[in-house]
Symmetry: C2
Subunit: 286 residues, 2 copies
């Protein structure tokens, strides 16, 4: 039996540390790199980032929106970037934030997680507005294919707080104050039951600077799940904060940086990745 | 000044009635139509549905997931379907359920709502897990381009209820029991302020069979917004229920049917659309 996504991710984080390099070819960065704001520019941007990331980090996260904006040609570019990253031995999280129900959700699951699909990634990000439980079949499909998923849970943008900290009021509620984010984390973790290893294949997206207690997301609520954490680098948190911010679950964190790395431009990219990756390794093991 | 999406939608609903034809080429339907489960099959399925819908309804809703599953070739097929539908004078709602923040969300907004984009539609569906307020710039961009958007608010799948009916607990909360769905509807409607006509350009997705009071979605909460309502046809609600289910806001409803229409196959499709469309017209005006 081949390794689960959780096992492969654990190995990658142990070897390279927490840093995940975001691949975000938005127009301003394309221009700074001397590339056109076209599908071709976004392809080139992605391929160069993959080349610089290879051997330096374990995980990359292409941001689908920046390819989708160019339509089918953008997706053709993304397919090349995904394939190059997987060929380079990187774990690839497609940041797509998809979410739907039934056969529709199955369409998305097949697109991103089915072996042999043109958009095949190692994991995909999902959005649970229709209920995290509505993603159950997708999470099972991920696990069955040795893939992973990260479900949006608590994000650091201020507009998110009202919804994600709202109080669930149903017969399954835990105590008087179960927050939406805590319910999502709980429902997602069900798909990890029975998975081998310390880290399950499916996890959550929790912003680095989120006030976790306000969302009911103490260490226990997140135990055993991989945690994709945007909010490092340009968005505010420092590598040295990793242990303080995530406590006992810090070793499960995939710390994404995009702008803080990409903004140095293609020539200094590899050196910058080395430098940032080392900071994360020191923060947990130093 | 050209018409807003709300004005164009109003005109389409007055002329053709509430029926919106879903374009859902999932594998089972492709097979029933004698088409391959490929991008080419999904293109053919979409183009034939557009041909049958032309002049019979005002609105069609392609389901993006069923194209996305074929990767860039699927998106190329979807581009052809979107263009054919718009050329046929149909209003096109791309059912993509996208949701993100900042420049990433801008990428999605440009993909679906920017005039001249290969995936240009008349409106797109959005998912508000990161806070409906985080979609504000996208809704403004939609309005600025004469486009529309429908934000997921209360969906009829049972797994959605815990999250969508959760109680918001912040300084802006209206009364003691503001539900997440009601907050979403309120935030979305802000983008309609100042829009001409009885129907704003941006609205909500509310399932036809949703118990609206349980989500704080009385008629007043939905006033002035277009309402995309899945859940008619195969999913349970009948055209004759439209007035009973949506009360004073029934005339703003876009009633989507997919399987109940598509399952008859390509040869009987036009007749089936005529038959279902007439039932919706009778239900409001008969």
């Amino acid at each position: 039996m081949s390794d689960t996504f959780g096992q492969r991710l654990s190995a990658a984080l142990s070897r390279h540390g927490a840093l995940c390099v975001g691949i975000d070819p938005h127009a301003a960065l394309l221009s700074a790199w001397g590339l056109d704001a076209t599908a071709e520019g976004a392809r080139e941007f992605g391929l160069r980032t993959v080349e610089a990331a290879q051997g330096r980090v374990g995980v990359v996260k292409p941001q689908v929106a920046f390819y989708e904006r160019y339509g089918s040609r953008g997706f053709a570019a993304l397919e090349d970037v995904l394939a190059a990253a997987r060929d380079a031995g990187l774990l690839v999280i497609a940041d797509a934030k998809r979410g739907d129900i039934g056969t529709t959700m199955e369409g998305y699951a097949h697109a991103w997680l089915e072996p042999g699909s043109p958009l095949e990634a190692d994991a995909v990000t999902l959005s649970p507005y229709m209920g995290a439980d509505s993603l159950r079949d997708t999470l099972s499909l991920a696990v069955g294919h040795g893939k992973g998923a990260f479900v949006l849970t608590a994000t650091s943008n201020p507009e998110a707080r009202a919804l994600q900290s709202a109080i669930v009021d149903d017969a399954q509620a835990v105590g008087d104050h179960e927050h939406v984010a805590a319910r999502v984390a709980h429902d997602v973790n069900q798909a990890n039951i029975g998975a081998p290893g310390a880290l399950g294949p499916v996890g959550v997206v929790v912003g680095a600077t989120v006030d976790r207690p306000a969302f009911g997301l103490g260490d226990v609520a997140l135990a055993g799940m991989p945690i994709l954490a945007p909010g490092f680098g340009a968005q505010g948190a420092a590598p040295a904060d990793l242990r303080r911010l995530f406590g006992y679950v810090a070793s499960a964190v995939v710390a994404n940086e995009s702008r803080s790395i990409l903004a140095v431009g293609p020539d200094r990219l590899a050196a910058r990745i080395d430098e940032r990756a080392a900071l994360y390794r020191e923060s947990l093991h130093g």
